[in-house]
């Protein structure tokens, strides 16, 4: 006979201001099977927990319902308390009368009744709970870092320095990410390459880090502590173990007119190339789409000039399978191109460039060797206009959020321009200057006060070209919203920071959630800023939202800390709330018909085929089997099984039925 205890929490006033807790407790005491019911101001407090512990012992409770907040919040607290009192923790359930009741309803009888119903349902459920044992799983102490930008580099180095193995996967031929494209960095104006390249080299040299460049994550299976990851190593057509990075092939390649991705189309590169001089690894790749040999079957000049005999035209993509215990997503962001604004010419004007292109132009290693030269004719722009919020804070044509980094980099751009073109004029159209951060506001002030950037508060309405000039039409809202027209030589649009094009696909491979802008979502915006909702997968850097370098690095170190904590244990404890296929006596063995329609539906690939054999080893039947190590208890297989042969511990068919029954028959 069930002996259930019900504990109603006031949650200060969070619940009690709306729900009549003493009344709920009084009614609950009369539910069949309930032997003890009480309400208290803070159940989660020490005295509150003691009430639970004491009641279990005193009233020999066989089940506990704590009617309080969301199980996400305090289920572990109360299950621990039950365990302390000798009750199996899985015989404790939470009835959520805060989020599901007091926070969403007005005070009144109906609300009280709902709270009572919620409690009744959980009482009926807990009567049918089974004592469960938690599952222990081993931890593979290797981390996978996806993305080799500054966040990925930082995370990898920190984890490696903590003594754990790291596998880094980078999509491009070199690590470095967007930071390697930048000229100088705010607010100190130190050279981006100068501070980044030592860390890139460290990654290459650290014995704990295995680096795969020109590679992508193909698939991820498994769960925290035990992921199996397939990595596609794209064919570089160059044997990395043999190539010595002399670079002769890249200088001899006859096909040198390919738009350079690293220079954002402003420079050219050969078909066999290293993206930039400081690349790590310093090993070229052949761009198969543009290579003359791959197109026509003739050329092979690189192979002829290569002293190390490293060229491999027949190299194929390789799939590498690795086992890792944790994954850090550091895939970064992208900027919108200049072609999405109809009123700015849909990208048809050559001299309108985006912020990243300006970085390359300002960079000493860039296509103009750091000189300001506009793309159309190579002239030095004497008048330059920077347009902030190009696509940001623009629900109509762009994105509604603030891209956060543009105010700072636009101030930096105006300064860099003035440092290079002393007699030039730099205008900045802005809406607000968002420069919160250590030394940030001082930096933008410096741009205005010392370097003379002319800031105009207003948004640009239209840009058109006339007689080789770009006519920028805006308004000055600090001056009676008067129209301002500037005949500029070049325009830089601080285009919105957006999610990486492949982000959605990667999120689906990893089973992590993402927001409407395709940025990865953290588990909690305040308290779990670097975790995802999938245990063992973490986030750092601008893949989460636009972030600047200090923030990305800080988040990366945070992730490294989290992963190091995870790797500090040899075993992980997992909740035993997993699915299982029923078993019955022969000749049925199970009600499972072996149709295996549950197999494709399982997001964790946890469903296997099990052979039932007789004593002579003859196959009698094939049944579904759910691997308890892989099952995450999502219940999708339960829903798809027509013969109801699958059940899930903690949420059994019977538990669900009596919950609904309790509600309908109240």
């Amino acid at each position: 006979m069930a002996r259930i205890g019900v504990f109603i929490c006031h949650c200060g006033e969070n619940i009690s201001a709306t729900v009549d807790c003493p009344k709920v407790s009084e009614v609950a005491a009369k539910f069949p099977g309930v032997v003890y019911s009480i309400d208290y101001k803070y159940m989660c407090s020490d005295p509150g927990q003691s009430m639970v512990v004491n009641a279990i012992k005193e009233h020999k409770l066989t089940g506990v319902v704590v009617s309080a907040c969301s199980p996400r919040m305090h289920e572990p607290t109360f299950r621990r308390a039950c365990a302390e009192a000798g009750l199996n923790p899985y015989l404790c359930e939470m009835a959520n009368i805060r989020e599901h009741c007091s926070w969403v309803h007005e005070k009144g009888d109906k609300t009280d009744q709902k709270a009572i119903d919620v409690v009744r349902m959980m009482v009926e459920k807990v009567k049918r709970n089974n004592a469960l044992m938690s599952i222990k799983v081993p931890v593979t102490k290797t981390a996978l870092v996806i993305g080799g930008g500054v966040a990925g580099i930082q995370a990898a180095l920190d984890i490696a320095n903590a003594g754990h193995k790291v596998i880094m996967v980078e999509r491009d031929p070199s690590i470095g990410g967007h930071m390697s494209q930048l000229s100088e960095t705010f607010p100190t104006l130190d050279c981006s390459q100068c501070i980044l390249t030592p860390r890139m080299v460290e990654v290459a040299q650290n014995p704990n880090i295995k680096l795969y460049t020109y590679a992508e994550v193909e698939s991820v299976e498994g769960f925290v502590g035990n992921f199996t990851v397939k990595i596609r190593k794209k064919a570089k057509s160059v044997d990395e173990t043999v190539c010595n990075g002399c670079g002769l092939c890249t200088t001899k390649c006859p096909n040198k007119k390919i738009p350079n991705e690293f220079e954002l189309g402003m420079g050219k590169r050969p078909a066999i190339y290293v993206p930039f001089p400081q690349a790590v690894p310093n090993i070229p790749v052949i761009d198969k789409i543009n290579c003359t040999y791959y197109k026509t079957g003739k050329c092979k000049i690189c192979e002829k000039v290569c002293q190390a005999k490293a060229i491999r035209f027949d190299q194929e993509d390789e799939i590498i399978e690795v086992a890792v215990g944790a994954i850090a997503i550091c895939t970064g962001f992208d900027v919108k191109k200049t072609d999405f604004f109809p009123e700015y010419g849909y990208g048809k004007y050559k001299d309108i460039i985006d912020g990243l292109q300006f970085e390359r132009m300002a960079s000493a290693s860039g296509p103009t060797s750091g000189e300001m030269r506009r793309p159309s004719d190579g002239q030095t722009p004497k008048k330059i206009v920077f347009v902030a919020c190009a696509g940001s804070r623009d629900p109509a044509k762009g994105i509604e959020y603030c891209s956060k980094i543009c105010c700072m980099y636009t101030a930096k751009h105006a300064m860099l321009y003035k440092h290079k073109v002393h007699d030039g004029t730099a205008y900045v159209f802005y809406m607000d200057i968002r420069a919160a951060g250590k030394n940030y506001d001082e930096f933008t002030r410096r741009g205005i006060e010392e370097d003379g950037a002319k800031y105009i508060r207003g948004r640009v309405s239209k840009i058109y070209e006339r007689d080789g000039k770009l006519i920028v039409v805006g308004a000055d809202t600090l001056m009676n919203a008067e129209t301002v027209e500037i005949e500029a030589d070049m325009v830089v649009l601080a285009t919105a920071g957006v999610a990486n094009p492949g982000a959605e696909e990667l999120a689906q491979k990893l089973h992590v959630s993402y927001d409407q802008h395709k940025f990865f979502s953290e588990a909690h915006p305040k308290l779990k800023p670097v975790e995802t909702n999938t245990a063992g997968i973490y986030l750092a850097g601008a893949c989460q939202a636009p972030k600047d370098i200090p923030e990305s690095v800080a988040a990366a170190s945070g992730v490294a800390g989290k992963i190091s904590c995870l790797f500090a244990n040899n075993e992980l404890t997992r909740e035993p709330l997993i699915a299982f296929v029923d078993r019955t006596a022969p000749p049925e063995y199970s009600s499972c018909t072996g149709c295996f329609l549950c197999q494709p539906v399982c997001p964790y690939n946890a469903i296997e085929r099990e052979d039932v054999k007789d004593r002579n080893g003859n196959l009698i039947k094939q049944l579904a089997y759910i691997n308890p190590g892989l099952c995450q208890g999502c219940g999708t297989c339960v829903a798809v099984c027509k013969s109801k042969s699958i059940d899930i511990d903690g949420y059994t068919n019977s538990q669900m039925y009596y919950e609904v029954d309790a509600l309908l028959n109240s």
Partner: protein, 304 residues
Amino acid sequence: MQKIKLGYYPGCSLEGSSREYNESVQAIAEKLGIELVSIPDWNCCGATAAHNLNKELSLSLPARNLALAEEAGLKELVVPCAACYSRFTTTQHELMHDETMHQKVNGIIGKEYKGNLRILNVIQFIEEFIIDKLDDNIKFEFNKKVACYYGCLLVRPNKILNFDRTEDPQTMDVVMKKLGADSIDWAYKTECCGAGFSVSFTEAVGRLSGKIVEDADHRGAEALIVACPMCHSNLDMRRPEIDKYNGKKLNIPVLYITQAIGLALGIDRNILGLQRHFVTVKLNDFKPFAKKIEVENLQITEEI
């Protein structure tokens, strides 16, 4: 050739100050075997005046015409005047999205508009019923450099009209290219000419239209191509104000797109009403049409 029958709403201007627009639409329609049936007993759409002064009036005047057209069993309605087109489309949109207003307006006009009419502006009319017939009927190549001017009402508000790209529309350019013209890229395609002030505030018209004419001329266009009687009368008749604003005399003529098509089809200039223009249309020396001109069909939906 099977005759196509379409509903037609000329509007007041096309019967008065812009009668050459009406003449040219009718001329090309007739040439290509299309019959335009006017709405019986149609009235003025109310133009800017009505919606400036009274919302219900501004919806009722077009609604009466729409209801009459429906009564006459018309399915498509060609509305060459961009202003009328804008009022009609806006009215249809408002009535279909606001049931209370719909009922109210039905009460005011004493008729019921069900909303089954497809309203076409002149360019949509050309795209749907004319353009495919051009290759077989063109006699002369319109070998001129032209600036296609769309103005406001053909493309805005995009949410209601849902026609072409708001900032850089292409449909007229495509038609002109098909006629053999070189249509230029310029800055004032969709800027306002000041239509609503054509009588009441002519200085503003001089300034707004002045910029349009000057930019087209500056970029070497030999003609401005329009599809709206307001635009035409401002750009053509208001030349004294325009020239005053620019401080120079500009002789670039302004043609309705239907006149341009008419010329290419070899229709007489006077039938197209070219003699009615204030700025003399000197364009002649057209080359005989030799071969089909392939024009890339642009994706013209706004991609946001």
